[in-house]
Symmetry: C2
Subunit: 314 residues, 2 copies
DNA sequence: ATGAAAGCGCTAACAT
DNA sequence: ATGTTAGCGCTTTCAT
């Protein structure tokens, strides 16, 4: 391995001069600077992360702590991780993946966390470094999340705008924040437009969704707002089987699932790249002891082929 | 931060004695060992990764280098990453995620790579540390892969065993190894059972698959072996729409996609946990300068609801 | 503008 | 069985 000392010898200067060339080049005379830079590139010198970490007492490593069970990991996490890794790298940080919930002792400069629940709050607040959560856990922990209420609000409003008369919501039978928010978004849009709310709550299961559709006696000009893509897929398949005409179906999340269907699903997209960017920005601020505010990312609705197309709201 | 020195002072010994208690406890008298262990736990001492890395000249970090574009990342990568992270952690290693293909300069003890192509071979073989690839790139690089030929072979044989007379293969129009292997597995099973091969090659697109089905004039007792779940989804939806009876459909990969359908797809599963375990084992051997052999993992076929069920082959 | 010295946390090699 | 020394690569502090 090429070290600072190697470069220093080659350039006939001290290691400090080399270090200065790298970090405070303005403090070094041009002549020496050039010859040091030459030595660096000739030798192919790369600073050792370990050496820097030791003397700076910083690791330049951020961990992503996934608290879900492996089997339940959402498919789009891979994308989120990669986006985060990319953004971090631009800032000179590295991303370390950790999974086991008992493993918080890792020596890092900060932690991203996903899948955290209220019961994790104590453990998380006790960590000796900054945390940013993907998804709200509690006010104590800065988070980034999609604006769930806005998502269902936007998509419901869209359905109304393209002429659906009757709009049904199939929600998630869960007491988590995101589930309540999604329901609220639908209700707000319904009230604003003086329609009648029709709400059903089920588990996140395509078969339950299909079974529910069977009992609904759907008419034309009806649209179904689903709280997740998975519910939407069940609804959609049942509707197609029955051959009911002009019934709109929408989902929520829509990163992979909605692609695996002949008819592209109208859905609320998780803007993963923006979520990643925001999470990284917040982390860097926290590391610099700056204050941050939890952020809701504005969702984007994707108009697919499972709803009418007339005009598009933004 | 609590250091070795803190522990040493507390236990009234030298730092080396503390280090020995941690790494070679048999070399330390029981009396001292106990008092050092007491000091360690009272202070909550955790060895510094950086300090160890510096003196051992090792990082205890493995990177996973994903060479695909973010947008094309397979959904099941998240699972693979987590499994690998878990296995590595048991061995005292940490998993670092890197994505940008130009970023191979990372200081790590080894690299896992996925999505590598022939054109990456040169770069990969020049890396100064061990590599294990997920998926075959060339003989130069140790890899772990699912036994693609065996997968299609097994599933074709299964279809024959449950009584399908006519078995069609819809393959991927790609010259990559895995695509050729999957086709070969089908052909081998067909020849062994003295059936007639019917092969079509298309892109990995559900619409192309559906369009192909339209031209096929399918009869009863026919089954379609698809090279990917995505193709299978297209086939399946088209068949359901047409209401053709007793036509079997199978896929390949089947980690997430096959779950998002009312009718669970019969498919060849990527045994991700075993792939992860094998990749980690190989990496550790390589780090220890032992020889390794590239490994094909035996696939498992999942019998879903898109094929007849009579008896199960293993 | 440049350099020397000390220290970050740890361990291998060498004493005792 | 235990301790001392030196060194891993780098940066901060304090000379010069």
């Amino acid at each position: 391995m090429i070290t600072l000392t190697d470069v220093a010898k080659r350039a006939h200067v001290s290691t400090m001069t080399v270090s200065r060339v790298l970090h405070h080049p303005e403090q070094v005379s041009e002549e020496i600077r050039l010859s040091v830079q030459k030595a660096i590139s000739e030798l192919g010198y790369k600073p050792s992360r370990v050496g820097q970490a030791l003397s700076k007492q910083r690791q330049f490593v951020i961990q992503f702590l996934i608290l879900e069970d492996v089997k339940k990991v959402d498919p789009y996490y891979a994308k989120l991780l990669l986006y985060i890794a990319d953004f971090l790298r631009n800032e000179g940080y590295t991303l370390e993946i950790n999974h086991d919930a008992t493993y918080h002792a890792s020596q890092v400069d900060g932690t991203f966390v996903s899948g955290a629940r209220k019961s994790d709050l104590k453990m998380l607040t006790e960590l000796p470094y900054p945390i940013v959560s993907y998804g709200k856990v509690g006010q104590e922990i800065p988070y980034v999340d999609i604006d769930n209420a806005k998502g269902t609000f936007m998509i419901t409003k869209y359905l109304i705008s393209v002429g659906y008369q009757n709009i049904i919501y199939i929600g998630l039978n869960l007491k988590e924040d995101f589930s309540l928010e999604r329901k609220k978004g639908y209700e707000t849009a319904i009230i604003e437009n003086k329609r009648k709310a029709h709400i059903f709550m089920i588990n996140n299961d395509e078969h339950e969704a299909a079974a529910l559709v069977n009992q609904l006696d759907l008419k034309e000009k009806t649209a179904i707002v689903s709280a997740t893509d998975r519910i939407a897929i069940g609804v959609l398949q049942r509707i197609q089987e029955c051959g009911i005409a002009d019934v709109g179906v929408t989902g929520f999340d829509g990163v992979f699932i909605s692609q695996f269907s002949l008819h592209k699903l109208t859905t609320v997209e998780q803007p993963l790249k923006e979520i990643a960017r925001t999470m990284v920005e917040m982390m860097l601020k926290l590391i610099n002891k700056e204050n941050v505010k939890s952020t809701l990312i504005k969702p984007r609705i994707i108009i697919g082929e499972t709803t009418r197309k007339q005009k598009v709201i933004r």
